[in-house]
Amino acid sequence: MKVIVNGEPRDLPDGATVAEAVASVTAAGAGVAAALNDEVVRRSAWETTRLGDDDRLEVLTAVQGG
């Protein structure tokens, strides 16, 4: 299945979860948040939230700024 993670198309196994998609872009354990199709997915729901074809996932963290 194809999902868009941080703007880049990515092939993930069918039924992949938010947790797996996040792990594909960062190993950071803390300070990271994810939004699925513009809705925040609480960290506690990462393992149980499954992605579907064409889903857009944004994975953000804090950087220098402001």
Partner: protein, 257 residues
Amino acid sequence: MDDDRLVIAGEELGSRLIMGTGGAPSMSVLRAALAASGTALTTVAMRRVDPSARGSVLDVLSECGIRVLPNTAGCFTAGEAVLTAKLAREALGTSWVKLEVIADERTLLPDPIELVEAAEQLVADGFVVLPYTNDDPVLARRLEQIGCAAVMPLGSPIGSGLGIRNPHNIELIVERAGVPVILDAGLGTASDAALAMELGCDAVLLATAVTRARHPERMAAAMRHAVEAGRLARLAGRIPKRRYAQASSPFEGLATS
């Protein structure tokens, strides 16, 4: 003097200098500058994770014991800003947000329509909203009425170093505000920060003036002293300006020929 503390949303902060982290050439320079500034609250931006990034600004803030204030820099619409704020709350575990909704990349000036819309949504969602706003007393008033925990008028465009272009408007904002006023953006050097405090601002927020100075750590220390000096001067009450001289030495008792 020790009881003169900055309180935002019921929480006391140990410094009236709020720092940003943007523009620092390295994490070690940033760490030294933050330490020299004495800041207790410092902004970060939220961006897509970069697998190649080395060293995290969060680690620096954590080591320095500084509270993190996520911003919504780079957002052009209320929708983008609200989503970014929610991601920041989830990632960083804070409901405080520096709300920034800009109109265009050339001026980075706030878009007041989108700003108000985003502020309303975030306040309703329980955020402590610190909005970066134009130096417009009416808009500042509206943001306070919405429920923002502070208002943060600009001195001049972000990163411009032009200082406070409209001190009169800043005074008008201060006069009517019931929440802390934080001068945010445009400061170039220490005298700008002192002026902000003399005008009655409760704090200043700055980044570029320090992080892009030739010697960031030194400028951070200068800003710390300037904020303290300006605050003391404000509390002390400046003398009125006069058109003519007023002798400070007595005329009586002069030796005359």
